[in-house]
């Protein structure tokens, strides 16, 4: 195992966060805080409790997921796309690092940033609404699993994209709508039956449901199903990354 190689990639990616602190940390914390002010304090105070939880508190897990998904994808996709765009990828491809080491470096750094960001957003949420975590172990597990899974997804996106537009299109046109429609701001039980069924095809529902359960003990779908779906998506991403390196897709011609 090339530990120095992994450490170098990891440090390099983390250094980018330090250089772009405003964009990496302050900006997502700011936008999430605005959600809490608008939906939690202002509008939320006029909305009745959902499953015994005040609306402001109810949206905390969903908003956390929204940030973690978006940031994991954005960090990991940029991390691998930029060397491809600038041409510095030659060094990575000519270095004695394996697929596993490259992925640990890039995905590990992206997931770390998301997890740290999640912690900061959680602390920020506490300033606006009451947050209770009934199952902290499960909460942490979902947080880490989601961060890793979507960082892997971001890595795949960064390899697939061959221009900046493609890099932006997936988070904007697919991930954000899926997260908004996946129960970030409501329980899917509040939807008409037809839409409840349709919503179950949205994989983000399972992430948010499991995550919300770890906070308040209420879930739209069973905990087991949430775990299976999250784990399933994780293994799907691992499979795609393995295929990318095996075939050299868009990396090694």
């Amino acid at each position: 195992m090339n530990w120095h190689g992994i450490k170098s990639i990891y440090k390099f990616e983390m250094a980018r966060t330090r250089r772009t602190l405003f964009q990496s940390i302050v900006s997502p914390v700011m936008s999430t805080s605005l959600y809490f002010v608008v939906f939690g304090a202002a509008i939320g105070s006029r909305i009745t409790e959902i499953d015994g939880v005040s609306y402001g508190s109810f949206i905390v897990p969903g908003l956390l997921m929204l940030s973690i998904l978006t940031e994991s994808i954005s960090n990991a996709s940029f991390g691998i796309y930029f060397p491809r765009f600038s041409g510095t990828i030659y060094e990575l491809l000519s270095a004695p690092v394996s697929v596993v080491e490259i992925v640990i470096g890039y995905v590990g750094a992206a997931a770390t940033k998301s997890i740290v960001l999640g912690g900061i957003i959680l602390a920020t949420a506490n300033l606006f609404v009451d947050v209770e975590i009934m199952h902290p172990g499960w909460m942490l597990l979902f947080l880490i699993l989601t961060a890793i899974t979507f960082s892997l997804f971001g890595f795949i996106l960064g390899v697939w994209a061959d221009n900046w537009e493609k890099l932006a299109i997936v988070p904007t046109l697919i991930i954000t709508p899926l997260t908004f429609l996946g129960g970030s701001f409501y329980s899917i039980s509040m939807l008409p039956p037809v839409w409840q069924t349709i919503t179950l095809f949205n994989p983000v529902v399972y992430l948010i449901s499991g995550f919300r359960w770890s906070f308040y003990g209420n879930a739209d779908v069973s905990l087991g199903l949430s775990l299976v779906m999250t784990g399933g998506f994780l293994f799907l991403c691992i499979g795609v990354v393995w295929w990318i390196f095996k075939t050299g897709y868009r990396l090694r011609i």
Binding site: H4, S8, K11, S86, S94
Partner: protein, 311 residues
């Protein structure tokens, strides 16, 4: 190892891209440890593809490459850790400092941090005072040096320089040559691709010529120059001649410059160059000259001749 002196061995190597373009065809090449090997060829000849396959950036379609006896595919960790690559394009990071980028390169190649080595490398490339500078603030020449520093950060035994002096000014080119000679003196095997023949002529121990994806010649530079290099004796005449006199017809002579010059082509390797008898025969034919000079064909002329011959 495939041979005691070989550090790189390429056998039966071929590369056909997805669009059907055959970049390399049955390339066989051995690089000796410690030598400076220049790979010459026109644009699109396959030089970069060959380097990229050896370094692991491009997959070959057929054939095998070994570095220090290790297979570049199945034993890539061993082979890649021995190689440093300076790419043709100025592909540096943008926002990182010089120090951070070379520390990154060293780590990426599996080496433990060694600030002493990095300092030595930066000093040898006149980059020490730029170590904290952000790369994008550097000039093109400085960026080229940064690329060399990155390639040397992990103390490679083999250094690939892909068109190292493309687009650099004369002063920097001279510096580059000095750096390469210094590396060679320290035991590093250097493989450089270039289409500046002058570069190969100045620096290389051996020369390989590649064209249309095929190696058409690999030879010691000196013997190549000797074998293929023509030498000419140029005699500037007192009075112009219309044609070569019949008495001198047995010599390989040309009349040039409106009859004011006689050119004699001769073989430097021949037992008898014929110069003495030619001069004596000229005197007998009452042809007098006021100046004499000799020229030798450059590697560039040899190269053009070779490529034409293959066509």
């Amino acid at each position: 190892m495939s041979g005691a002196a070989n550090i790189i061995s390429v056998s039966g190597l071929g590369k056909t891209y997805d669009d059907g373009f055959e970049a390399l065809s049955n390339v066989n090449l051995d690089i000796n440890a410690g030598e400076i090997f220049a790979l010459l060829g026109p644009n699109g000849a396959g030089k970069t593809t060959l380097i990229n396959i050896i370094c692991g950036i491009v997959n070959s379609t057929v054939g095998r490459v070994t570095v220090a006896g290790f297979d570049t595919v199945s034993e890539f960790r061993q082979t890649r850790s021995l190689i440093g690559l300076v790419p043709q394009e100025l592909t540096t990071e943008t926002f990182e400092s010089v120090w951070d980028t070379i520390a990154f390169s060293r780590g990426l190649f599996g080496k433990a941090p060694n600030p002493g080595h990095l300092e030595k490398t930066l000093k040898s490339l006149s980059l020490w005072d730029k170590k904290d500078s952000v790369i994008m603030s550097l000039s093109g020449g400085m960026k080229r040096r940064v690329l060399i520093a990155k390639a040397l950060a992990h103390e490679p035994q083999i250094l690939f320089l892909d068109e190292p002096t493309a687009g650099v000014d004369v002063e920097l080119r001279q510096d580059m040559w000095d750096i390469v000679r210094g590396l060679s003196d320290s035991g590093v095997t250097v493989i450089l691709t270039t289409h500046y023949i002058e570069e190969a002529e100045q620096m290389a121990d051996r020369i390989g010529v590649i064209n249309h994806g095929e190696i058409i010649l690999v030879q010691d530079k000196k013997s190549l120059m000797r074998e293929l290099g023509k030498k000419q004796l140029i005699l500037e005449l007192d009075e112009p001649l219309d044609a070569v006199p019949t008495a001198l017809a047995s010599y390989d002579l040309e009349i040039r410059a409106g009859g004011n010059e006689i050119i004699y082509n001769y073989d430097t390797q021949a037992e008898n160059t014929g110069i003495t008898t030619l001069l004596s025969d000229l005197r007998e034919a009452r042809i007098y000259f006021r100046d004499v000079k000799t020229t030798q064909s450059s590697l560039e002329e040899i190269f053009v001749g070779l490529v034409k011959r293959i066509k």
